[in-house]
């Protein structure tokens, strides 16, 4: 099983015109292969900066990231983005001008891993599994928020990435679709086990989904607390009110609450 990610002393300093902004302050994090690591922290604390470094969109000022032993990023240099680590973005990145089918099948085709026919066939299979085969020829703009999310996850999985990077994917959804999607994601990952790096600012979502939950402080981001979740998978929404769940939530919400209050009083605008 591939996909072991290890982050050592990750540090990122942005050189804005006015002042130096320290976004990440030496993060050390190990994610085993197939482990679902949920990162939670106030908005604007640098979670996305770390995700961008893993994905290869941005570099680190110091420290290094390795995937299965190969170096992904080291001081000021990073391997270009590729299909080994695919990102599902917060507001979605389905190409609105292409059909759903094309969106899903384009990865393997562009990497010349599959012919167009094979890719489309595989894409249809995956779309059928998420119940969207009727929307294959529609444009992403015609789908609902929940449906678009499912297409994005399928688009990521068809490329068989080693690591799945999720940046608050369910934030734009309403609460009920979000709960159904969360359950859906866990179930999908039981069929197709993957290492997952999941960012959210919703503590309950992090505990429900994660094998491990890591709490980031507000800027500059440091790891305040990290806990493994021993609730068995696949998990159903009934566990949200189970004593073990509430116990973990109480344990972590202290740190989260503190960070939130600081953000609230200082005014998130300055922080974000």
């Amino acid at each position: 099983m591939q996909g072991a990610l290890s982050i050592r002393g990750a540090r990122k300093v942005y050189d804005a015109k006015t002042a130096k902004v320290v976004a990440l302050d030496s993060i050390d994090l190990d994610i085993a292969a197939g482990e679902f690591c949920a990162v939670v922290g106030p908005s604007g604390c640098g979670k996305t900066t770390l995700l961008n470094a893993i994905a290869g969109f941005d570099t680190l000022s110091r420290g290094d990231i390795t995937l299965d032993g190969q170096s992904l990023a080291s001081a000021n240099a990073s391997a270009p983005p590729d299909a080994s680590r695919i990102v599902v973005f917060q507001n979605g990145a389905l190409f609105p001008w292409r059909t759903v089918l094309w969106n899903v099948a384009c990865g393997p085709i562009m990497q010349r891993r599959l012919t167009a026919v094979q890719a489309n066939q595989q894409a249809m299979e995956l779309l059928a599994r998420v119940g969207l085969q009727d929307s294959a020829n529609k444009f992403p703009g015609e789908l609902s928020g929940g449906q678009r999310r499912r297409v994005e996850i399928v688009r990521a999985l068809i490329n068989e990435p080693k690591v799945l990077l999720l940046d608050e994917p369910f934030r734009a959804l309403d609460a009920l679709t979000k709960s159904v999607m969360q359950e859906y994601l866990i179930e999908l990952l039981t069929y197709v086990p993957k290492t997952v790096f999941f960012i959210t600012h919703d503590l309950e979502e992090a505990i429900f989904l994660g094998d491990k939950v890591v709490v980031f402080s507000s800027r500059p981001a440091r790891i305040r607390q990290s806990v493994t979740i021993d609730i068995p998978k696949p998990r159903r929404h009934e566990i949200l009110t189970s004593p073990r769940f509430l116990e973990i939530k109480a344990m972590l919400s202290g740190a989260i609450h503190e960070e939130a209050l600081r953000a609230f009083t200082v005014g998130e605008r300055e922080l974000a």
Binding site: S43, D174, A175, L176, H201, L240, T241
Partner: protein, 290 residues
């Protein structure tokens, strides 16, 4: 930690909203009629905090717009203290989903707009009331800033101030905290609960988030997917004043359990109903059995 507003001394009337068997439908471009609300009735009791909960796109916002008087239902009536609602009025003020602070006015001008337009008091007096209220809402020094210079949480508080300065009889809130990140949202919920417990203005609050509804409300009105129908009404027996510790109490868990059961069925229907084939529904049903 409770927020103290010290505005209890203001006179706070609170009205009673009765929604009696309303239906509403719209014609889409292809000319077929889409029914948004189908014979829906519920009661916004005087001095109570009522939460309308249901899947997204089920017509909750349409009901709120009708209570606010922006358009009338096809059938059935909505009345405030027994009088049929004919149009928008300051007695029923709405806090919208996307912030509706006028971006071209400073925060203070936004707050004084209502009383100024109705010219009930001299402008100087209105301005004093407004800055006092802003002070209470933690926006004292932000009076002369434009809304886009405020953070999400601050804009929400600005809108609450703009509504409350008019002493409305009913406060209508349409998923006002949806855009905020979870933490600011949590603090705004506590903020609103303390505000309600002090003013006791009748409030009708729309949300799709079950935790938010239970924590804030005295009564949950659960609506079905589109078209919207009242599926059930659950009384929230949590004591007042509310605090976060109650979120882990067994009473809370029980209410949530019952509400989740109904809502979850509706959510799956709505989730599947979006043009997705029925086999997804079966796959959900089958999976639940296993």
């Amino acid at each position: 930690m409770t927020f103290d507003f010290g505005i209890a001394h203001r006179k706070h009337g609170s009205g009673e909203i009765t929604v009696d068997d309303i239906s509403y439908s719209v014609g889409d471009r292809e000319g077929n009629v889409v029914e948004l609300i189908d014979r829906c009735s519920f009661h916004g009791e005087r001095g109570l905090f009522t939460a309308l909960v249901g899947p997204s796109g089920c017509g909750k916002t349409t009901i709120m717009n009708m209570i606010a008087g922006y358009f009338a239902p096809d059938r059935g009536t909505i009345s405030l203290d027994g009088v049929k609602i004919a149009g928008p009025g300051w007695e029923r003020l709405m806090v919208f989903q996307e912030t509706a602070l006028f971006p071209w006015m400073t925060t203070l001008d936004n707050v004084i707009y209502g009383p100024m337009v109705r010219a009930e008091k001299p402008l100087r007096q209105i301005k004093q009331d407004a800055s006092a209220l802003l002070q209470k809402f933690g926006l004292g020094e932000f009076g002369d800033r434009y809304p886009r210079e405020l953070s999400g949480g601050m804009q929400r508080r600005g809108e609450l101030a703009r509504a409350l300065i008019n002493d409305p009889l009913v406060l209508l809130m349409d998923e006002p905290f949806r855009g905020l990140d979870a933490m600011t949202r949590q603090l705004m919920q506590k903020y609103l609960v303390d505000l309600f417990e002090e003013t006791r203005t009748t409030t009708i609050f729309v949300t799709s988030e079950i935790d938010e509804a239970i924590f804030l409300a005295d009564r949950l009105v659960i609506l079905s997917g589109s078209p919207a129908k009242v599926v059930s009404v659950i009384e929230v027996t949590l004591p007042r004043p509310r605090n976060f510790e109650m979120l882990s109490s067994p009473v809370y868990a029980g209410i949530k359990e019952r509400a989740l059961e109904i809502l979850y069925a509706e959510a799956v229907a709505a989730f599947a109903g979006h043009g997705v084939t029925s086999d997804l529904k079966e796959s959900f049903e089958r999976r639940r059995v296993v």
